[in-house]
């Protein structure tokens, strides 16, 4: 059954939806400048997103932070009602579990869209991390990677991995089907501006094809 809040949301805004999950590493190593820059980046993402009227109504953002624990800081909400949550750091990096959680969130959302007759574009998931999985079993990241590969093959998700600071790019390359993106100098702003521009294009373009979004390999290189 569809809750009354969702019913009202879909009745007041019957636009097709474009779900986007931000999977954000909030482990201890992100403490200080990195987490501050990440907070600012997410805020910038929101501000850029709502500049486009259509994207403001079609893009739905969810924020999942992960350290030792997984926290859904923001369940799916349309961009025009999204406000950036404040991220704080602690613990280790349960990356695999986080990815699975993000994928489950997306699956549940798609089920809701199906029940409500709401059309949707291919969901995006963007993972930002500065390290590698730590504090969870090895199988977690392997099954997560397999699930991502399966969904990418079936064109059911677009997954991007963004590596910050000392992130192991090799490791990310094993998880992500697309080449991982390297973020230098904590330039989250550029990365999130690119992401919001991509969301603008997706919310306007053909549903079946991914638009030709230029994906830089490196952000913030001097």
């Amino acid at each position: 059954m569809v809750s009354i809040d969702n019913k009202i949301d879909f009745a007041n805004n019957p636009e097709p939806r474009c779900p986007c999950v931000l999977l954000l590493d909030t482990s201890m190593s992100m403490k200080g400048a990195p987490i501050d820059a990440l907070n600012a980046g997410v805020q910038r993402f929101r501000d850029e997103l709502i500049k486009d009227k259509l994207a403001a109504r079609r893009v739905e953002v969810a924020v999942v932070s992960f350290n030792t624990h997984i926290d859904v800081l923001q369940p799916f909400v349309t961009a025009n009602r999204f406000s950036a949550p404040v991220l704080s750091v602690q613990g280790f990096t349960s990356m695999g579990t986080a990815i699975e959680r993000g994928l489950d969130l997306i699956q549940d959302r798609k089920n809701l869209y199906r029940m409500s007759g709401i059309a949707y574009y291919r969901p995006w998931m963007v993972m930002v991390t500065d390290g590698q999985p730590h504090g969870e079993g090895d199988h977690a990241i392997r099954s997560a990677a397999a699930r991502i590969r399966k969904y990418e093959d079936e064109k059911r998700i677009s997954f991007f991995a963004v590596g910050v600071q000392d992130a192991s790019m090799d490791n990310l390359a094993r998880i992500s089907v697309r080449p991982p993106i390297m973020l230098q100098n904590l330039n989250f702003e550029d990365m999130f501006v690119w992401l919001s521009a991509s969301m603008h294009l997706v919310s306007r373009a053909a549903v079946s094809e991914q638009p030709a979004v230029p994906v830089p390999n490196i952000f913030g290189a001097l």
């Binding site: 805004n13 019957p14 636009e15 009227k53 007759g117 294009l201 306007r204």
Partner: protein, 499 residues
């Protein structure tokens, strides 16, 4: 930034803080030196557009609302050349102040924010006006091509303006061909153009008619796309454009694997005439695009349907087709936890229109004075048989009585017929101001009251009136002679001063 007007010769100064809109292709700025114009400046130079724009500036179509002082078509007024190298940087067009993109008005949530008093009648009128503009363009061999939710602007008076006219398909008078429309949005693209590269397709008005019908559907169905619905198949639901290609219109007669979208208004809120036109466009039109209704057909049908709108007795902002028994908007507000898609003027003025209606709202029963009149009539003895008139009454009395009855008969007849369910139709006067009061006779929409009760109580009132008339006539006949004599005697007593 400095630009040169090609035909006018003057320079135009544009500052970035004058930006009012921006898209992937261009930015729009107001022009300080001329507040009636805006400038569209391309992000990247488009050399292929310059000859098209040139032709357009030199051959403007007549604007159907020029006499009303409104620009229906944001046609290029002049080209803007870069002051640096003389290349075409953009163009000037009329500025329609205070207009909203059409999607802000058909989307219920946005409408509550930007124009809460834009009632269903205004949505009908917007659809009609849009069809009228499209017709005016088609008649002159222009094809819009990229008709979509973002390049139609609407004022709060329901007047419409088509913008982004630089992407129109325009006859190339020199080359004998056309300047193509290279863009389009999949949700508005007809099945025969789906998946095709649009750079060199010569479009026809039949292509436009598809996108026009999609927008009209969205205007009348609270923003829902005609091809939206619940997919009854196994896998992921196909995207909208795939459904368009397959002709899977959920409200059609074929077995499309879709159920109507559950939170859209029921399709029955539209009169049958419009439902048929949508079916012709989205179902029949797939095999034969000539089946799609012309823009002029939409104008006529929408105009007539608007005249058939009735108002709800609970909230006069609730207007709905008179073919319905109950107010669909009251019901919709109930199912959406009190969110009223067309809040009353009172709620808007008091700023409470975004709040849900309180659950403890009152609901009316039929007027309690009606049963007592009915009871009184039922208790009345039938009118007594009167004696035939005597000679004393004189010929004039009987003639008068006969004439009275004759006169009453057609009036009685009309009233009896009118006693049946009758609603005085909405006058379709032009709406000039948002606060224009529509005069109409609404009918109570509270579910308890049925139209046959109203008819019956009317009938009883007529019978009483008839009984009273008969009583007066009979008394007149009986005592008419006495009244005549008394009158004559009184006249004779008046002293006229000469005998």
């Amino acid at each position: 930034m400095r630009f040169l007007r090609k035909f006018d010769g003057r320079t135009i100064e544009i500052t970035t803080d004058r930006e009012i809109n921006s898209g992937g292709e261009a930015r729009i700025y107001t022009v300080d030196s001329d507040p009636s114009l805006v400038a569209k400046i391309y992000r990247r130079a488009k050399p292929q557009t310059s000859s098209k724009l040139l032709t357009m500036v030199q051959n403007p179509p007549p604007d159907p609302t020029a006499a009303q002082g409104h620009a229906s078509i944001a046609w290029p007024v002049d080209l803007l050349l870069s002051a640096a190298d003389g290349t075409v940087a953009g163009y000037l067009m009329p500025y329609v102040v205070g207009a909203h993109p059409i999607l802000d008005l058909y989307s219920p949530g946005e409408r509550l924010e930007v124009c809460p008093l834009f009632s269903y009648q205004y949505l009908f009128r917007t659809a009609q006006n849009l069809a009228a503009v499209v017709h005016a363009l088609h008649v002159r061999d222009y094809v819009i091509g990229d008709i979509n939710e973002s390049n139609i602007l609407v004022l709060d008076t329901a007047l419409v303006t088509v913008v982004d006219t630089d992407s129109f398909q325009v006859p190339d008078l020199d080359g004998g061909t056309v300047f193509h429309c290279p863009v389009g949005k999949p949700e508005f693209t007809p099945p025969e153009l789906q998946g095709k590269p649009l750079d060199d397709v010569t479009r026809t008005p039949a292509h436009d008619r598809f996108g026009l019908a999609v927008l009209i559907f969205q205007l009348l169905m609270e923003g829902n796309h005609p091809f939206a619905g619940i997919f009854t198949g196994e896998d992921d639901p196909p995207p909208i454009e795939a459904r368009i290609s397959a002709g899977h219109y959920p409200y059609g007669s074929s077995e499309a694997p879709y159920r109507p979208a559950p939170f859209a208004p029921p399709i029955e809120i539209l009169p049958a005439v419009l439902r048929t036109m949508f079916r012709r466009c989205f179902e029949d039109g797939r095999q034969d695009p000539r089946m799609r209704p012309h823009a002029a057909e939409w104008v006529k049908a929408l105009k007539e349907a608007e005249l058939d709108l009735a108002a709800c007795g609970v909230n006069d902002q609730h207007l709905y087709g008179s073919h319905l028994d109950m107010c669909p908007w009251c019901r919709r507000a109930e199912t959406l936890g009190g969110t009223d898609p067309f809040p009353s003027k009172l709620r808007v003025v008091s700023g409470r229109h975004k709040e849900p209606l309180p659950a403890t709202t009152q609901s009316a029963l039929p007027s309690s004075s009606a049963p007592s009149i009915r009871a009184a009539v039922a208790a009345m003895p039938p009118p007594a048989e009167e004696a035939p008139p005597t000679d004393r009454t004189g010929p004039w009395a009987s003639t008068a009585a006969a004439a009275l009855l004759q006169g009453l008969k057609p009036a009685l007849g009309r009233l009896l017929v009118g006693g049946a369910d009758r609603i005085r139709k909405l006058r379709g006067s032009p709406i000039d101001a948002p606060s224009h009061r529509i005069t109409y006779v609404g009918r109570a929409a509270s579910s308890g009251r049925s139209s046959s009760n109203a008819a019956r109580s009317r009938l009883y009132l007529l019978l009483i009136a008839l009984a009273i008339t008969i009583a007066i006539v009979t008394i007149g006949l009986k005592y008419g002679g006495y009244v005549k004599r008394t009158w004559r005697e009184w006249v004779y007593t008046i002293d006229f001063g000469r005998r």
